[in-house]
Amino acid sequence: MISVQQLTKRFGTQTAVDALSFEIPTGQIVGFLGPNGAGKSTTLKMLTGMLEPTGGTATICGFDLRNEPLEVKRHVGFVPESGAVFESLTGLEYLEMVAALYAIPEDAARVRIRQFIAFFDLSFETLTDKLLGAYSKGMRRKVVITAALLHNPEVVFFDEPLDGLDANAAVGFKALIQTLAREGKTIVYSSHILDVVERVCERVIIIDKGRMLVDGRPDALVAAHGAATLERLFTQLTGGEELERKAEDFAKTFRP
């Protein structure tokens, strides 16, 4: 479903993504992890056609990212980390605008939007009367997730999707992506909340400085590296243990 070959992105002399290669089959939920600045968001932006790769290529649903970017975009959904929306539209106006961009008939779009409103426990009055600028972060995130799934994409990229969601919405969301995967959707899930990734994803890819560090099943990777949890493995691989020691030393400076 997703085939990435030697994907590279350079900004001037800085290499953000360095010859990344991996394959993701249909119906798999893959955790895409890395510390800040590792190149996760840049990779996702390349795979969704927002950034042009400097080198390498990728095919998604059989469409080449370089030669058929519009076809790729038709088949993917993306929840960006920023959760950006047009603040001066109402939630309903925003979702209808997105549906129209995917050429979804208006009646089908309305039905679909109502299903998501019920799922996310949103009030229809809020969605029709209030402008998005007045929504809470969590409500706005629900609208962005709905906008990413409205056109029934075969591949969905989530970049920090739980940011701002309350506990109930997060539980529902996790169940939703597991159901989507069972129905044959391919999910790429980028997050810093590693215990959620460990529970939801059947495979994780950890990158740092644009390069792949490990790729495999979370339990197998944890066992192979002798780590207790995925979080421990992550800190082992990305130099987080040193930061932990620094934090302890820094905290000691507060002692009277």
């Binding site: 932006k45 969704t48 056609g49 927002m50 519009l70 076809e71 975009k73 038709r74 993917v76 993306f78 960006p80 920023s82 950006a84 929306v85 047009f86 603040e87 001066s88 539209l89 109402t90 106006e93 605008m97 997105v98 549906a99 129209a100 961009l101 995917y102 050429a103 979804i104 008939p105 208006e106 089908a108 779009a109 679909r112 299903q115 998501f116 019920a118 799922f119 996310f120 426990d121 029709t128 009367d129 209030k130 402008l131 600028g133 007045a134 056109h151 029934n152 506990a167 109930n168 919405a169 539980v171 529902g172 169940a175 939703l176 159901t179 989507l180 129905e183």
Partner: protein, 127 residues
């Protein structure tokens, strides 16, 4: 705490040939006009209190321009050079403000790519 509602059923796969009633160009033009009318950031506003008419907004702009234009009456007994200096000065001020606000809102809007660039929009429709 309330439990989340049932997971929405999956949509059937998109059917080729079926389309929305509006073209992408129409959708984006309507979006542009709405954002022009209401402003790009409208924190705290409700839809019913947001401006509704492009005509009334343009009218307000024209009234503002007319007010600044009428200030030229102050120069009616002054030399023509001073009068033209004022007119040119005001033109430059308005032009500068327009360019600065447009650049801030349209050219350098960092969030807009996150909303539109991953959607299957034909480049000519975006233009």
């Amino acid at each position: 705490m309330r439990q989340p509602a049932a997971i929405p059923p999956l949509l059937p796969a998109p059917v080729a040939g079926r389309s929305s009633n509006r073209s992408q160009g129409q959708v984006l033009r309507r979006l542009f006009l709405t954002l022009f009318l209401r402003g790009r950031t409208a924190r705290g506003l409700r839809k019913d209190t947001a401006p509704k008419s492009v005509g009334s907004k343009l009218g307000l702009v024209l009234v503002l321009y007319a007010a600044f234009g009428l200030m030229t009456l102050v120069f009616r007994h002054q030399p023509v050079f001073v009068f033209s200096l004022y007119l040119h000065g005001m033109t430059m001020v308005f032009l500068g403000m327009f360019v600065a606000s447009s650049a801030g809102e349209v050219l350098f809007n960092a969030e807009e790519p996150d909303i539109l660039m991953h959607r299957p929009i034909e480049p000519k429709a975006l233009l």
